[in-house]
C-alpha cells in the first residue's frame, strides 16, 4: 500500500460575514497558500477535489464558481462532494492510494452569512417525516444534549467548561472566529446556551496530499495518513441512541485509532455536547489534547470545519507538536456521519 501524507494546510480567517468577497475571491488565497507552502504550481497538481453545499449558496452547481481559483483550463482531473471537505480529502486519499495521482489539492468552503444556516440545514433531513417540521440544527443538538444529561453523561456546568476550554484554546489561533473567554449566555434551545453552539461564519480551507517520496520532497515532516474511514447511522433520530456514536467508534477502529494511543485529537463537534459523545465513542483519555485549535466551537465554517480538523491535526505534526493525532469530521444531525483519520509524523 502506498503511503500518503498531508503536506500543507491553509485556512482563511473565519468571519461572521464576508459579503465583500465572492466564493472564489474567498477561496483563492488559501489555494495559493497551500501551493506556496509546497512550491507546487497549479499545473503540478494531479487531482483536485472540493467540498461545498448548494443550499448554503442558494444556487445550483455553486462549486463551479470556485473552480476559477484552481486554474481549471486546460482541463484538469477534478471532483466535488456535496459534503464537508473532509470527505473530499477521503476521495483524494483513495485516488492517491490507487496510484492514479501523486499529488492532490483538496479544498472546501462555506459562506453561511447569505442565508440562515439553522434553516438551511433542515433541508438535509428526511423530507417525508422530519423536514416539514423544520427542526433546526440547534434544536436537534439540544435533543441529544438532554439525552446525555438524562443519562448522567454530562450536565450544563460540564458543557460550559467544554465551551470555555475551546475558546480559551482558540486564543492562540489567529484564524478562529471566537477567541478567548466569553459569556455562556442564555438558552438558544434548552439545554443548549449560546456558548454551547458554534459561531455562524464564512471560511475556507485547503490541503495538499502527496504520496511516498513526493511527500518527503514537499514537506519537512509529512503528516502520514495511517488510516481513514467513515461510517453512517440511520437517518431517523428516533432509531438511534443519541448518547453514543457507534459510527464514530467503528470508523476510528477501522482507521487504526485504537492500535496505539494518540496525543492529539481534533474533533469536529459543533456543539459542546457532541464532544461528550465523541470522547466516549473514541475512548479519549484526559491525557489526549482535544481541540488545541479551539475546534468548531471557535470557528465552524460549514463544509470546511471538518477539513480544518484534518488540517489542524496535520499542521501540529508538521510543526513537531504531535507525533500521532486523531482527526474527526462529522456531517448530518446529531453526529449522523463520522469520518476518522489517524495521522503520524516520523520520529524526530
Amino acid at each position: 500500500m502506498r503511503e500518503v501524507a498531508i503536506v500543507a494546510f491553509a485556512q482563511t480567517d473565519h468571519r461572521r460575514s464576508t459579503d465583500d468577497l465572492s466564493e472564489v475571491e474567498m477561496v483563492m488565497p488559501v489555494l495559493h497558500g497551500v501551493l506556496a507552502q509546497t512550491g507546487l504550481k497549479a499545473s503540478d497538481i494531479d487531482f483536485t477535489c472540493s467540498g461545498s453545499s448548494d443550499y448554503l449558496a442558494g444556487r445550483a452547481f455553486s462549486f463551479t464558481m470556485t473552480l476559477d481559483g484552481v486554474g481549471a483550463w486546460p482541463p484538469i482531473s477534478e471532483s466535488h462532494v456535496e459534503m464537508d471537505g473532509a470527505w473530499a480529502l477521503y476521495e483524494a486519499w483513495v485516488k492517491l492510494l490507487t496510484g492514479e495521482a501523486d499529488t492532490a489539492l483538496v479544498y472546501s468552503y462555506g459562506k453561511s452569512s447569505p442565508g440562515v444556516v439553522r434553516d438551511v440545514l433542515t433541508r438535509q433531513l428526511d423530507p417525508y417525516y422530519v423536514a416539514p417540521l423544520w427542526p433546526d440544527s440547534v434544536a436537534l443538538a439540544a435533543l441529544q444534549a438532554q439525552a446525555l444529561i438524562d443519562a448522567g453523561d454530562t450536565g450544563e456546568p460540564a458543557l460550559a467548561e467544554i465551551a470555555a476550554r475551546s475558546r480559551g484554546a482558540a486564543a492562540d489561533n489567529p484564524h478562529a472566529q471566537l477567541r478567548g473567554a466569553r459569556p455562556q449566555g442564555g438558552y438558544v434551545v434548552q439545554p443548549l446556551r449560546t456558548g454551547d453552539c458554534p459561531p455562524v461564519g464564512d471560511g475556507a480551507a485547503a490541503v495538499v496530499l502527496a504520496a511516498g517520496d513526493r511527500a518527503r520532497e514537499l514537506c519537512g515532516r509529512p503528516a502520514w495518513i495511517r488510516g481513514m474511514d467513515h461510517r453512517i447511522e440511520a437517518h431517523s433520530l428516533g432509531v438511534r441512541d443519541l448518547t453514543d456514536s457507534p459510527s464514530a467508534r467503528l470508523a476510528a477502529e477501522r482507521a487504526g485509532a485504537f492500535e496505539r494511543p494518540v496525543d492529539t485529537a481534533e474533533l469536529h463537534a459543533p456543539f459542546s455536547s457532541q464532544e461528550v459523545v465523541l470522547r466516549k465513542a473514541l475512548d479519549l483519555g484526559d491525557d489526549v489534547r482535544v481541540n488545541p485549535s479551539g475546534g468548531a466551537l471557535a470557528a465552524n465554517p460549514v463544509m470546511a470545519a471538518g477539513l480544518i480538523r484534518l488540517g489542524e491535526a496535520a499542521a501540529r505534526i508538521h510543526r513537531g507538536e504531535s507525533d500521532r493525532a486523531l482527526a474527526h469530521a462529522t456531517s448530518g444531525p446529531c453526529l449522523q456521519q463520522n469520518l476518522v483519520a489517524v495521522l503520524e509524523g516520523e520520529a524526530q
Partner: protein, 318 residues
C-alpha cells in the same frame, strides 16, 4: 489602471422556493394516509421491533419490510428540548418543546413538538398524546403537536394498511431566504454598468481581459485585479434564434441571443440582439449596447452600421 476600493459591494434579497413533488412507497403511503385517518401505523422488523415512523427496509438486515401494525396515539417522551423562539414554518407559533416520543406499542421514537406551558412542564418520561390537526391531508403535520396526557398505554395491533383514497405523494414545500452579494469583482462590474460603462479585469499572468470579471482567471488560477474598460462596441461571434417565449418575459419571439466580444475583451459575454430583423443577423455583425432610461444594464445590443468584422479578428473568441 488598478482597481480602487469598491465604493459599494452590492446586496440583494434572494428567495429560493422549491415545491418538490415526492412519491411515497407502500409503507410511507400507508403511514401518511393513516395520519389523515387519525391512525398511526408502524412497521415490524425481522427481529420483531416496531418502528414508528415506519421505513421500507429493515435498518439491520436491509430486508424489505411490509408488516404494518397500528400503535396508540399516546406515548412517552424519550428526550426533549425547549424552544423559546419558534421559527417560521415550525409547527407551533408559541414556545414549545421538541420531543422524541415513543408511542405505546412502538420501539422507536417519533420526532415532533409538544405544546406545554414552559420548560418546567416537560420532562423525559412524560406521558403525552397526539393532538390532531383540524384539516388533515396525509402529511406528518397532520399531527398538529403532542400534548400532556396521563392515560393508560395502548398496544400494537396488526393493521392491513389499506385505506380508501390512498395518499401516494407529498409536495414538500420549502422556502429559504438569502441576502446575495456578488463580491468585489462582480459588484464593480455591475456598478460600472449603471454608469453605462463595461469594465473587465485583466489577468496579470496571461493578460486576458475577462468580461464580466469574477475576480479570478480560470486559466491561471490567480486574482484579476487590473480593471480595463472595454467596448462599448463589439462583434457578434455566434448567436441563436429563440422561438419559445419564456414566462414573464416581455419580448416578442423570434428574437436573437448572441455572444458579443466587446472591443478589448478577451472573451465574449452574451446578450440579446435587437434593432435588426432576426433573419438578417449574422456572425461578425458589429453591435453596440442600448440602455433604456434608468436601466442599470444594457437592454440589448443593436447594429452600429459599421462593416462586418473580418472572421480572423474574432475567430479566437468563438
Amino acid at each position: 489602471m488598478t482597481a480602487a476600493p469598491s465604493p459599494e459591494v452590492l446586496r440583494a434579497p434572494l428567495v429560493v422556493e422549491f415545491p418538490f413533488t415526492r412519491s411515497l412507497g407502500p409503507v410511507q403511503s400507508a403511514f401518511l394516509t393513516g395520519l389523515r385517518e387519525r391512525t398511526v401505523l408502524g412497521v415490524r422488523t425481522s427481529d420483531g421491533k416496531v418502528l414508528v415512523p415506519p421505513v421500507e427496509y429493515d435498518p439491520v438486515t436491509a430486508d424489505e419490510i411490509r408488516d404494518l401494525v397500528e400503535v396508540a396515539p399516546t406515548g412517552t417522551v424519550t428526550t426533549w428540548a425547549w424552544n423559546p423562539d419558534p421559527r417560521r414554518d415550525q409547527p407551533l407559533a408559541t414556545p414549545f418543546a421538541w420531543v422524541l416520543v415513543k408511542l405505546d406499542g412502538a420501539d422507536t421514537a417519533l420526532l415532533h413538538v409538544l405544546d406545554a406551558t414552559g420548560p418546567d412542564a416537560v420532562r423525559t418520561g412524560q406521558r403525552v398524546r397526539i393532538r390532531w390537526a383540524g384539516e388533515r391531508t396525509g402529511a406528518i403535520t397532520d399531527i398538529a403537536c403532542f400534548e400532556p396526557y396521563e392515560g393508560e398505554p395502548g398496544a400494537a395491533t396488526p393493521h392491513t394498511g389499506e385505506f380508501e383514497d390512498t395518499v401516494t405523494g407529498i409536495i414538500a414545500q420549502a422556502r429559504l431566504d438569502y441576502v446575495y452579494s456578488p463580491g468585489r469583482a462582480q459588484s464593480d462590474y455591475i456598478n460600472a454598468l449603471a454608469g453605462r460603462k463595461t469594465v473587465g479585469e485583466r489577468c496579470p499572468s496571461c493578460r486576458k481581459v475577462y468580461v464580466p470579471p469574477r475576480g479570478a482567471c480560470p486559466t491561471c488560477g490567480v486574482a484579476t485585479d487590473e480593471q480595463v474598460e472595454v467596448g462599448p462596441a463589439g462583434t457578434l461571434t455566434t448567436y441563436c434564434i429563440v422561438n419559445i417565449k419564456a414566462r414573464g418575459l416581455d419580448i416578442e419571439v423570434p428574437y436573437v441571443y448572441g455572444h458579443i466580444a466587446l472591443d478589448g475583451a478577451g472573451l465574449p459575454l452574451h446578450g440579446r440582439i435587437g434593432g435588426i430583423p432576426y433573419d438578417q443577423v449574422r456572425m461578425g455583425l458589429r453591435v453596440e449596447p442600448v440602455w433604456t432610461e434608468g436601466g442599470r444594464f444594457p437592454d440589448h445590443y443593436r447594429p452600429t452600421g459599421e462593416p462586418d468584422a473580418d472572421y480572423d479578428t474574432y475567430k479566437e473568441l468563438i
